[in-house]
């Protein structure tokens, strides 16, 4: 018989779900609202710039269009960071590949991603949970692990997805981080999707995060 979720679990699930919905809304608003409006202003300014014959005005407009382009790029990256659109359209692996690219260019840490088996189309809630666990794990690695290389393996089995993140970093004492919010949130996210998240670490050898998610 399937275990009924407790009241606390239902509340956690509701909070996480509402937060994700809000993040997605802000991300879309930034990309499709603010971003698009700025783009319209940019094309308008470029038109004025090409029409004017006054050199000092041309130079001034050029500086303004450059600044606008920087802002448009910033809005686009912020929107993708909040909620990658690929997570909804293309699926989990393309979204993680795209995040890894940004991660390596931000922190200089190389990530070797492998996937075995055929990727399944998970429900969006589950895709978000796995993506956020990867994001949290990689951020922790950048902050604490002191490593240059990370390995992420996906195994798409018949009945469940298994994922393993190994950082080969300096590791930590598990008892000292048992109650940290980041780790608890990762475990809770997987628990609420019916999966598990196990974290093990050895000083000098690194940290391993293993998740399993039944289909």
């Amino acid at each position: 018989m399937m275990e009924q979720p407790t009241n606390n679990q239902q509340i956690s699930s509701y909070i996480i779900h509402s937060q994700e919905e809000e993040i997605k809304r802000i991300s879309q608003e930034l990309h499709e609202g603010v971003g698009q409006n700025l783009y319209s202003i940019l094309t308008g300014l470029q038109f004025v710039q090409s029409s004017t014959k006054q050199q000092h005005l041309k130079n001034y407009l050029h500086e303004m269009t450059e600044l606008l382009e920087k802002n448009i790029q910033e809005i686009r990256l912020l929107s993708v960071e909040l909620h990658p659109p690929t997570l909804t359209t293309l699926g989990l692996l393309p979204a993680i590949k795209s995040y890894i690219k940004l991660y390596t260019s931000t922190f200089g840490i190389l990530v070797d991603l492998n996937s075995t088996g055929e990727e399944r189309q998970l429900p969006e809630r589950h895709r978000i949970a796995v993506f956020r666990v990867c994001q949290e794990a990689l951020t922790n690695i950048a902050k604490y692990a002191d490593t240059s290389e990370v390995k992420i393996d996906f195994y798409w089995g018949e009945y469940e997805l298994n994922m393993c993140i190994c950082d080969f970093g300096q590791g930590f004492k598990a008892e000292e981080t048992d109650n940290t919010l980041g780790i608890s949130a990762m475990k809770e996210r997987m628990h609420l999707t019916g999966g598990t998240c196990d974290i093990s670490s050895t000083i000098g050898e690194g940290t391993t995060i293993e998740i399993s998610l039944p289909y």
Partner: protein, 151 residues
């Protein structure tokens, strides 16, 4: 354009600055030829080669903030004295830096580069260190002028 890290004069200035300022790390960042992003081109006293892969977005991190504002910046006790997230400062995390002082490099009166010194412990950089960094930044502006303005 030849790689900046291959320029002996750049490496001489950075190594001499490291010695004169008595710091553990010196690095030089420049804005990319195309687009607003900033990349670290040279480092002395580095622990690993992460800096080579780090691209800082315009306005983000120490290098991005200095280029967007055109002003020097100092951190004494990272991550305890920062505004924003720890992850907004990738070079500090990559090189385990705790204190830094960094100044902009100007080309045609526009900030397009950053020279940074850092230590892996809490440290307040002296006025003399500030002067040394500024002098080295001027030297690098002269050395790199032909490279940057040719782009």
């Amino acid at each position: 354009m030849s790689e900046i890290k291959e320029l002996q004069a750049v490496s001489n200035v950075c190594n001499q600055l490291k010695k004169a300022a008595g710091c553990e790390f010196v690095a030089l960042a420049l804005q990319n030829e195309a687009g607003p992003d900033v990349r670290w081109h040279f480092a002395a006293g580095n622990l690993n080669d992460k800096y080579k892969r780090i691209t800082v977005r315009f306005g983000k991190g120490i290098a991005g903030k200095i280029i967007s504002s055109g002003s020097p910046m100092e951190m004494v006790d990272f991550p305890n004295d920062i505004i924003g997230k720890i992850t907004d400062h990738p070079i500090m995390l990559a090189e385990k830096l705790v204190s830094t002082y960094a100044v902009p490099l100007f080309f045609n009166a526009v900030p397009k580069g950053v020279l940074l010194i850092g230590n892996r412990e809490k440290h307040i950089f002296s006025e003399r260190s500030h002067e040394l960094v500024k002098e080295s930044a001027h030297l690098l502006e002269q050395i790199l002028k032909s490279h940057i303005l040719r782009l």
